[in-house]
């Protein structure tokens, strides 16, 4: 059974993704931060990790980098809400997530997804990466 780890700081997203992957027949575990996700990966291993890019603590780019360094075979999908993440109206320090996604790809993410995506889009991407 293909093992998937979902990393997102939003509980609602963790729950729904877990449900989707479970129904689709994946062995899925969820983590609320990059560090927790890495712990899970070390403990249980995974074929694919899907992680949010903007999170407190180590963000998606760092997580993708750490996974790629430690587990070169594990596939990584990085997802983002698009736009930017600066506090409202705060500029020019606004972080452009498009650039962030590009950084994640540069450190080894296999695919980026922009929220909101639908179930088919997600499962299709996962299937392609894990060659199920």
């Amino acid at each position: 059974m293909t093992k998937v780890i979902v990393i997102d700081d939003e509980e609602d997203i963790r729950i729904v993704l877990k449900e989707i992957f479970t129904r689709a027949g994946y062995d899925v575990r969820v983590a609320s931060s990059g560090d927790e996700g890495l712990d899970l990966l070390r403990e249980h291993g995974a074929d694919l990790v899907i992680t949010d890019i903007i999170m407190p603590g180590s963000d998606g780019v760092e997580t993708a980098y750490d996974i790629r360094m430690e587990f070169p075979q594990t596939k990584i999908i990085v997802m983002s809400g698009g736009g930017n993440t600066a506090p409202l109206g705060y500029e020019p320090a606004a972080i452009n997530t498009t650039a962030y996604l590009a950084s994640a790809e540069a450190v080894g993410a296999d695919l980026t997804l922009t929220k909101p995506f639908d179930r088919e889009e997600l499962l299709k991407a996962v299937r392609e990466l894990t060659a199920d």
């Binding site: 698009g82 452009n96 179930r119």
Partner: protein, 494 residues
């Protein structure tokens, strides 16, 4: 009146009158005194000579003259019109002319000056010898004719003075008129110049050296001032133009800054929004999966999915405005097919009351662009144009052609640089926009349509696309005439 009293003419007349008021009384008094003295001297000389001659005759004839002869002699002096009184005192006796008026018999008073005693008679005593006997001839002469002559002379002097005064005043009027004519001309000219007619020449024609010099100097000053004024006006015009351009550029820049901050804000909102939309869509999807096919809840959940997808579309539009979407750009050698496709798509969607005309150069390019976004841009602009003509119908004209952006135009639109561009314009014959609306057209969520008819994101998206393509967008609009939107896209070198 005060002004008249201060005029040159009035001043000169007043001055002349004042001088004459001081001088003429003295002069006339002196003349009258001289005339009077002369008349009196003549009178007294005459009286003395007459008395002496008469006394000498009596003295010479004293041996032969009887008292009756003497009285006859005295009578003849009165008859001759010379005297009004004639008497001879000889010892204790006095001989009177029989023609002496009764009132004058004892009137004799020795006069030492003309006019003494107020009796109008000048009495003179002349001593003589009648043989051995001393006698005194006493004659009284009428002063009235001499007084009359003095009075006549006085009148004549006054008359002459009055005539002299009148002539003098007349001459003063004449002179001052001649003098003030060129001055008045100068005054009128300078009034005209002061009221703004700088072309008025100072041309007072006068033979008076000072006035002609003054005129020449003033004319030199005027022509210098006209030159300076023209230069200053030119400077003001160019400064005003520069200021207007600076203001326009400043407004444009401020507008861009505002759009940038709105973009950042919108990007932040979209990010949060997408994080909410993702579980919303997915949970609904899962719930639908769990429901039996005939569940009454299903249509409602399907609506939720549809609405969430609509929200997803909105969020995508916001991101198009806020940030480049990352879609790839490629060099398109000719935009014409892309534009044709967009206009046919639009014409299929809008009612027949709105006609679409196209005027497109073939080829028009090359332009580095994302064809999908260019189509979206045109669809949005045409959609706005159509919305502006919803009530009465009209015409949308889409044109695409090469154009050159001049340095002056580029200064007004800082996003553009002088050089070659493709200019896409969409013109409608709709209701147009006022200045206030024009100022806000790019603001996200700003719409003039009814609630529910528009999102207010159409032009924001257009703006995002244009900025991404390093172009600029220029609006010109007139209320009730229509709007033209011109999009400038830089020509690619490749």
């Amino acid at each position: 009146m005060a002004g008249n009293l201060k005029s040159l003419l009035a001043r000169m007349i007043l001055a002349v009158l004042l001088i004459h008021a001081l001088v003429l009384p003295l002069l006339s008094y002196a003349m009258i005194v001289v005339v009077r003295n002369a008349q009196e001297e003549v009178f007294i000389d005459h009286v003395r000579i007459y008395s002496r001659v008469f006394a000498d005759w009596l003295q010479a004839e004293s041996g032969t003259l009887s008292d009756a002869d003497i009285v006859a002699g005295l009578d003849s002096s009165i008859l001759g019109g010379r005297c009004v009184y004639a008497a001879l005192s000889k010892g204790d006796s006095r001989l009177f002319s029989s023609l002496t008026e009764p009132g004058n018999s004892d009137a004799f008073k020795e006069d030492f000056e003309f006019g003494d005693h107020d009796d109008s008679i000048y009495f003179i005593s002349t001593p003589l010898q009648l043989g051995d006997e001393a006698a005194v001839l006493q004659l009284g002469f009428d002063e009235n004719p001499t007084l009359q002559e003095i009075a006549n002379a006085k009148d004549a002097i006054l008359l002459i003075i009055v005539i002299y005064l009148l002539v003098t005043v007349g001459l003063v009027v004449l002179l001052s008129t001649l003098l003030s004519r060129p001055l008045n001309r100068l005054r009128r000219d300078s009034h005209k110049i002061a009221s703004g007619d700088y072309s008025r020449k100072m041309a007072a024609d006068s033979s008076i050296f000072e006035i002609s010099e003054l005129t020449r100097d003033l004319e030199n000053m005027r022509s210098t001032l006209v030159g300076i004024n023209a230069r200053l006006e030119g400077e003001i015009v160019s400064r005003e133009a520069a200021e207007a351009e600076r203001r326009k550029a400043e407004i444009h820049l401020r507008h861009m800054h505002r759009l940038q901050s709105i973009g950042t804000l919108a990007g932040g909102v979209a990010h949060e929004f997408n994080n909410v939309l993702l579980p919303l869509l997915l949970y609904t999807d899962l719930a639908l999966e769990d429901l039996p096919a005939d569940s009454p809840v299903r249509p409602n959940l399907e609506r939720v999915t549809r609405l969430a997808n609509r929200a997803k579309g909105l969020s995508e539009q916001i991101l198009t405005f806020g940030r480049p979407t990352g879609e790839t750009m490629s060099v398109v050698p000719d935009l014409a097919p892309i534009i044709d496709e967009a206009t046919s798509m639009v014409s299929a969607l809008i009612p027949k009351s709105v006609a679409i005309e196209t005027e497109i150069e073939h080829p028009v390019g090359p332009v580095s662009c994302n064809p999908n976004e260019i189509q979206q841009l045109l669809v949005n602009l045409c959609s706005n144009a159509f919305q502006a003509m919803l009530d009465d119908g009209g015409e949308i004209r889409v044109s695409a052609k090469h154009c050159e952006v001049s340095p002056e135009f580029a200064e007004l639109h800082p996003r553009l640089e002088p050089g070659d561009y493709v200019c896409l314009t969409v013109t409608d014959t709709g209701e147009g926009m006022d200045a206030e609306t024009l100022e806000r057209v790019f603001d996200p969520f700003f719409t003039t349509r009814e609630v529910g008819e528009g999102t207010g994101l159409g032009l924001s998206v257009v703006h995002g696309i244009v900025v991404k393509h390093n172009g600029d967008i220029v609006f010109s609009s007139e209320v009730n005439v229509g709007t033209t939107v011109a999009v400038y896209l830089p020509l690619s070198d490749e």
